[in-house]
Subunit: 251 residues, 2 copies
């Protein structure tokens, strides 16, 4: 049993450290601070439709309720945080907007991010930067994604020097609207997100890697029918991965 | 910040130890073994419709796939475990059957539990023992629930002396088919489940306590439209609570 347990713990360690980009695995694993969110923290989820999930615009100023938080991974992760820490006075918002790309975030960043003064800011952006270019609705290149994302993060760090940043990996599953031809190009966007996480020393949430493992247990369409927008099972898996990376969960 | 952090960690400790019945909080918090599932483990979810969630009977012998595991908390917890530990050779089954009560589990226990030789057995049973008596479809009393549950667990421990037991708290939300008149009586069934957890020194998953906190963030019907059967958000919250209790997650 003891050798089994050793094996198991080794497995956990490897999975856990994949959440941190730009730090050596040994150092990352030893950092206890990755596992804490202080009481009173303001937490903001930002992104596109995968974050938006039909959240109400009417209650956008009211933290911690389902209408504000939508029905996807952000809601699931938030509700789990709130239930676990019901006395910690967390204030959790979602300001994802369907169809958004990096330049759309930049346009509304003052009102929808900086003014909220988040202590923890989680961003999932990139699939539309690729997809809308692919289908001719947008001219921006991979280079524009990188330049714009870096500028957004610099602006954020300047306005909110103590904000904890969590960058999420853009992803797709091979089903629905997504075929093989997506992956060589999408890999570039994933690599930029990881590079930004390294440059800005953020927590990184490797959603593509997670879904690449998940397809061993259910068809891609079970996780996201159109290949882009997660099902409830896919959103639950994302919320779990987010918590694992952000809170250093022992999984 | 350091006093904030201390507050936060205190909060986590209290939440975490609620998962263990029959042990002092101080001892429970110090037990590292609660957080591990050795590689190669066979994990079995047992229960009623809340566990069943329209799983396929055709693939019941095939572990680790969505059809076998249904679409509820068992599937979500299982898929998260499998994705986190894709190299750990876990084998996860679901044998919940809609409408089951303790005597129904007892009738099929050899085939649907003991023969699978689980290393970890998670049971959620009790709401029908109450509900079916309430609506006249069953004669069993609270005392029968206790006697039958204890006999089932004694039989399990005798056949599988090393099995790790996880007992889950039966629960209801005040909406749909559930009104105020449920709660005084259901509390008795909840207390028996907790008592069994104490007697058999198992991990305990306090789902009712969790949902009692969750209604601060969304209407009861968002968690379970009929008050009994969880929505995807409710199932995701349950999967999270199950993992928190079973793996000693730092939340």
């Amino acid at each position: 049993m003891s050798s089994n347990r050793r094996e198991f713990l080794t497995g956990s360690l490897i999975a856990g450290t994949a959440c941190l980009a730009g730090r050596s695995r040994t150092v990352a694993a030893a950092e206890p601070s990755s596992g804490t969110i202080p009481p009173g923290s303001v937490i903001l989820f930002q992104g596109d439709s995968i974050t938006d999930t039909r959240r109400s615009r009417e209650t956008a100023q009211t933290p911690n309720v389902r209408s504000t938080l939508g029905s996807g991974y952000a809601w699931m992760a938030a509700s789990q945080l709130l239930v676990d820490h019901s006395k910690s006075d967390l204030k959790i918002f979602n300001r994802g907007i369907s169809g958004n790309k990096v330049p759309d975030l930049a346009e509304r960043w003052d009102a929808d991010c900086l003014e909220l003064k988040p202590d923890l800011l989680s961003i999932l952006i990139g699939v539309n930067d690729y997809w809308h270019r692919r289908n001719g609705r947008y001219d921006g290149t991979l280079k524009d994604y990188e330049t714009g994302y870096r500028a957004l993060l610099e602006r954020t760090r300047k306005a909110l020097p103590n904000v904890r940043l969590v960058l999420c990996e853009p992803f797709a599953l091979k089903c629905g609207k997504v075929d093989d031809t997506w992956f060589p190009d999408l890999a570039g966007y994933r690599a930029v997100a990881r590079k930004m996480s390294e440059e800005f020393k953020t927590t990184f949430v490797p959603f593509q890697q997670m879904f690449d493992r998940a397809v061993a247990y259910a068809e891609p369409a079970e996780w996201a029918a159109d290949g882009v927008h997660p099902s409830p099972s896919g959103a639950a898996l994302m919320a779990h991965e987010w918590q694992r990376c952000v809170l250093g969960m022992s999984s």
